[in-house]
C-alpha cells in the first residue's frame, strides 16, 4: 500500500477547473518531484492536500486513512501527517526563530516543553541555524527564513513534507543552502513532494517526477526517463525549454 494515494482529484477556482482528475501515489521515503509550466496546478495540488483549498471530488488516502476534506477531524488528521513550506516566506514576523519553530508543538499539540525545545534545537542545527535562535524573521536572509520554515514544518513531526518552490524567491547564491537541506532530508528518508523548477536538483534527488500541464498529469517516470526521453509531445516541449540551460 502506498504511503499517500491521490485518486482522480479535482478542484476549481470559481468556474475555472484547475485540477482535472489528478492521480498519483507516493511511497514511504520517496521524494517525488512535481514539475510543469506555470499555472499547471502544482501549487493547487499541495494546497488541496493541506486543506487550504477544497477539492470538488476525488480521494486522498494516507496509509489506511481516507481523508474527508469536508470534516474538521479529518482535516486535522491530514495536517497532522503532512506539513508544507511555501515559496513566499511565511514565518510569523512577530516571533523569533525559536518561537516560530516551537509555537505549534507547544501551544497546539501541547507536547512537553523540554522535549519540544530539544527537538527544535536539533532541527535548527540540522538546517544550519544554531546561532540564530533569537533572531526575528526580518533579521534573516531569505534562505535562512526558508530553512527556519522547513524546521518549523518538521517540528510537528510530519510523515510527509510538501515543498512548494521553496527556492524560487531566493537570490541565486542562497538557493544551494536550502537545496542542501532538502537533500539531507531526502537522504534521511523523509517522504517529500517537491514542486521545483530546479531541474538539476530534481534529477539528483527525486526518485520519480510527475509532469503536470493544465490541471492534468501528462507523464510520470524517473528523472532520467522524463528528462532524457519524454514520450508525449507536451513533455518534450516543456523539458526542451527548461533543460536547455
Amino acid at each position: 500500500m502506498p504511503h499517500l494515494a491521490v485518486e482522480d482529484l479535482r478542484a476549481s477556482y470559481g468556474a475555472l477547473e484547475v485540477l482535472r482528475g489528478i492521480s498519483f501515489s507516493v511511497e514511504k521515503g520517496e521524494l517525488v518531484a512535481l514539475v510543469g509550466p506555470s499555472g499547471s496546478g502544482k501549487s493547487t495540488v499541495l494546497r488541496v492536500l493541506m486543506a487550504l483549498n477544497p477539492p470538488s471530488s476525488g480521494r486522498v488516502q494516507i496509509d489506511d486513512i481516507s481523508i474527508d476534506y469536508g470534516k474538521s477531524g479529518s482535516v486535522r488528521a491530514a495536517r497532522d501527517r503532512m506539513a508544507v513550506v511555501f515559496q513566499q516566506y511565511n514565518l510569523f514576523q512577530n516571533m523569533n526563530v525559536m518561537d516560530n519553530v516551537t509555537l505549534a508543538p507547544r501551544k497546539i499539540k501541547k507536547w512537553p516543553v523540554a522535549e519540544v525545545e530539544e527537538n527544535a534545537r536539533a532541527l535548527l542545527a540540522k538546517v544550519g541555524l544554531t546561532d540564530k535562535h533569537d533572531a526575528y524573521p526580518d533579521e534573516l536572509s531569505g534562505g535562512q527564513q526558508q530553512r527556519v520554515a522547513i524546521a518549523r514544518a518538521l517540528a510537528l513531526k510530519p510523515e510527509i513534507l510538501l515543498l512548494d518552490e521553496v527556492t524560487s524567491a531566493l537570490d541565486p547564491e542562497l538557493v544551494n543552502e536550502v537545496l542542501d537541506t532538502i537533500g539531507e532530508l531526502a537522504a534521511d528518508g523523509m517522504t517529500m513532494i517537491l514542486v521545483s523548477h530546479e531541474m538539476g536538483f530534481v534529477r539528483e534527488v527525486a526518485s520519480r517526477v510527475i509532469m503536470m500541464d493544465a490541471g492534468e498529469i501528462i507523464e510520470t517516470g524517473t528523472p532520467a526517463e522524463l528528462f532524457d526521453a519524454p514520450k508525449s509531445q507536451r513533455a518534450k516541449q516543456f523539458f526542451s525549454k527548461v533543460l536547455r540551460h
Binding site: 487550504l52 486535522r76 495536517r79 511555501f86 511565511n90 514565518l91 514576523q93 512577530n94 497546539i108 526575528y136
Partner: protein, 225 residues
Amino acid sequence: MNYTFQYGVVWRDFDVLIDGALLTFQLGVMSFWGGALIGLFCAAVKTYGQRVFGILVDFYVVFITNTPALIQIYFLYFGLPEIGIRWSGELCVVIGLTLNAGAYLTLIMRAGFLSVRRTELEAAETIGMSRLQQIRFVIVPHIAKTIYPALANFFIVILVMGTSIGAIIGVDELTGQAINLSTVNYRWLEYFTIAALMYVVLTFIASIGLALLGRWAFRVKAKVF
C-alpha cells in the same frame, strides 16, 4: 491686570488634585482596555463572522462615532434612571467611554485584521491553529505592532479628553476636582494651570509606559514624543 497668582492655596489642595489625577488615570485605563476588547471582538466578527453580525457591528460603530461622547454619557447618567437603571457617575463614564472607545478601536483593529499577510495565516492554519489561536498568536501581535502608534494616540485621547467629561456629571476626576476646588475660593487660574500640568505629566507617564510596553512585548520602536 492686577490679578495676583496665589499658588499657596493650591499647594494645600495638591493631594486632592492628585486623587483626581489618579481617578482620571484609572478611568482612562479601564475604558481603553475595555474598548480594546470590544474593538478586537467586533473586528473579528466583521472579518470572520456571518454578514448579519457584521452589519450589527456596523450599526454600533456608525451610531457611536456619529454622536458625541458627552451625549452618550448623559444618556447613561440621566436617561437610564428613567427606566430604573441607576449607575454611579464613575460607572457611567467607564461604560460610556468603553463603548465609545470600542467603536473607534473596531475601525482601527479592522485595519489590522485586513493587513495581516495571508501567507502567514495560511501557515498558521496548516500547522493546526484554530481561528481563535490565529487571532491570539498571529493577528493580535501583528495589530499591536503595526498600528501601535494609532492605538497609543487613541489611549491619550481617551485619557485626556474622554475622562474629563466626567466632571459634568460630578465625577471627581482631575477636571472635576479642579472645578470643585475653584468654586470654593475662586482661584480658577491657579487650579487649572496645575490641573493642566498634571494632564501633561499623566500623558507623559502614559506615553513612556506604552512605549516601554511596546518595546518589551512587541518589538515596536515606539517614540515617547
